[in-house]
């Protein structure tokens, strides 16, 4: 009968409209900023640099190998190697960055830098409220450095894997050191 289809559609709209009054599952809108969704483990926005210990610059894991700079699809990372070296977590002397800049305005949050980093140094942050009233959108290493505790807090599963593998490597390095023949004193 002519008009049946229209009525069926209207009944459907009515059901949806009324449903939102008795079924909380139908209220899908999240009232941001008063209310925020639970963050996901994998969520990624911009990169940050992980440091160990208390000093953000001395504890940086970054060894200025420039792999992330080369692989970044948007070419938004700039690294200048420092001439001075510092010991890493295994006690080996490694380079460190003198300049480590990321142009956040260019970064497209793809996460390839974090994927290719062999030192577990660059990881993806999940901050998203980055609006600001200035144009200083090039983040220097001081802005990018964040502690390992922060990394554990935002990506607990991934951080646990990273911490375990680093502890294992350190244990092996110490075992090697202990077993290697110490030159006898004359």
């Amino acid at each position: 009968m002519l008009g049946c289809g229209i009525l069926r559609g209207l009944i459907e709209t009515g059901r949806n409209f009324c449903g939102s009054y008795y079924d909380p599952a139908r209220l899908t809108t999240v009232q941001y900023p008063e209310e925020k969704l639970a963050p996901q483990e994998n969520a990624r926005t911009i990169p940050f640099l992980v440091y160990d210990g208390n000093d953000p610059l001395a504890g940086l894991r970054c060894t200025a190998c420039t792999i992330c700079e080369l692989e970044c699809p948007a070419h938004c990372i700039k690294i200048v190697k420092d001439t001075a070296k510092k010991p890493d977590y295994l006690g080996k002397m490694q380079f460190q960055p003198k300049v480590f800049d990321i142009d956040i305005a260019v970064c497209m949050s793809c996460g390839i830098c974090a994927e290719v980093c062999p030192f577990d140094s660059i990881k993806m942050d999940r901050v998203f409220e980055l609006a600001c009233d200035h144009r200083a959108l090039v983040f220097h290493r001081t802005d990018l450095a964040k502690s390992n505790e922060y990394f554990r807090q935002i990506h607990p599963l991934e951080a646990a894997v990273v911490d375990a593998s680093r502890a294992e490597e350190r244990r092996k390095a110490q075992a090697r050191k202990a077993s290697s023949p110490v030159p006898a004193a004359p």
């Binding site: 002519l2 692989e71 699809p73």
Partner: protein, 383 residues
């Protein structure tokens, strides 16, 4: 791109009835043009006598950038082609790199690719149906229902890949990361809830007499024209041509799944809408089978070098059935770290070429729904 001026003084048009033709520039900021797309429409009264598509407003030099970047670095750029369906874009690109470099993909990764691609198809078609109904005057309601469902799928994508839309999930030789805990159950629930949503969505407007009067017989795409113009995807199948690359090429593991290819009869706007609704039901069938049969194992071929991939000199064309049609990547390697030539075959752009043929003789209001039924995304048209 500058459009040639339309021939306003064409004989037989306008002058016989003693009035002028009106040239309307529809877009690029018109809400009905689905992005920054412009049509120069020449009208005789309300009837379209000429239509020139103008595009390029969203040109980003995608192909040239990919010829400078490494093979790995192009994957996030492909997300931004058809920004509704980043997963299928990734797949088409990694498939052509795999062909070029001769890389094998673990079975689990193939299944994961099918799962995410079918989820992408579900929400792409749902949103398209919502937008199309909105173009026809059903303001807001169908689109909001479709977006509600899309949100659930985007949540799945976020917990899997870290990002809702720019997933950057696939890698040549597999996928980037394995499923997080509980993801499969969540995906199975989303798939199970989708069938009732489709019933509801169809009850809303598919039988509506006003809607059917509005779109039946409008924008007919004849079968021969569709084939000759290279139209692919639901638009082609709505014209009655049985051509689905999932069946023709059987890429990935699609040969293992049982599903049908819905076909239309007349090739009008209503058929293109209906074919998409039916395709969503078939996608649900594929999804059920893939979620059931998902094998355990590695997700990334351990012998694949992601960084510094240098395929041997040669060429490869990889194509998949993206939600909008045949999405292909043509790559030529000269043995270097970046492709010598990188070419995208975008379904949106090719499907758009028949727009004028479908619109001629119809009213200006029909142009909007005909364009809506083609399903274009300007990120892919302009690249």
């Amino acid at each position: 791109m500058i459009a040639p001026p339309p021939q306003l003084s064409a004989p037989g048009i306008g002058d016989s009835v003693g009035h002028d033709l009106l040239e309307v520039s529809l877009g690029p900021h018109h809400p009905s043009t689905h992005g920054v797309f412009r049509m120069d429409v020449v009208l005789d009264g309300e009837t379209v006598v000429k239509l020139t598509p103008v595009f390029g407003y969203l040109h980003r030099n995608h192909e040239k950038i990919a010829e400078k970047n490494s093979y790995l670095a192009s994957i996030p750029y492909t997300d931004r082609l058809d920004y509704m369906c980043s997963m299928t874009n990734n797949w088409a690109y990694v498939l052509s790199v795999e062909k070029l470099a001769g890389l094998a993909v673990p079975e689990r990764a193939e299944y994961l690719r099918v799962i995410v691609a079918e989820l992408t198809r579900l929400f792409n078609h749902a949103c398209l149906a919502g937008f199309l109904l909105q173009d026809m005057g059903a303001l807001g309601t169908p689109m909001m229902y479709a977006f509600r469902e899309r949100e659930k799928i985007l949540d799945l994508f976020e917990s899997l890949s870290g990002s809702r839309m720019m997933c950057n999930y696939m890698r040549f030789g597999g996928c980037r990361c394995d499923l997080p805990a509980g993801w499969l159950e969540q995906a199975a629930k989303v798939a199970a809830d989708f069938a009732p949503f489709l019933d509801q969505f169809e009850a809303l407007l598919s039988e509506n007499e006003i809607l059917r009067a509005r779109c039946e017989g409008v924008g007919v795409l004849p079968r021969d024209l569709a084939v000759n113009a290279g139209v692919t995807g639901p638009g082609l199948r709505a014209s009655g041509v049985n051509y689905d690359i999932r069946k023709v090429d059987q890429y990935g593991v699609y040969s293992r799944f049982k599903f049908r290819v819905p076909l239309g009869g007349r090739g009008d706007v209503f058929d293109r809408y209906m074919v998409r609704i039916l395709e969503m039901r078939e996608s649900l069938r594929i999804l059920d089978q893939a979620l059931r049969d998902l094998p355990a194992g590695a997700i990334l071929n351990p012998r694949v070098k992601l960084r510094n991939l240098r395929p041997k000199a040669g060429e490869a064309y990889g194509r998949i059935e993206a939600p909008k049609g045949e999405l292909g990547f043509y790559l030529i390697s000269d043995g270097g770290p970046a492709p010598y030539r990188y070419r995208v075959r975008p379904p949106s752009l090719v499907n758009l070429t028949v727009l004028e043929d479908m619109c001629l003789g119809h009213a200006i209001a029909d142009v909007v729904i005909i364009l809506g039924s083609i399903d274009i995304v300007l990120g892919e048209v302009d690249r």
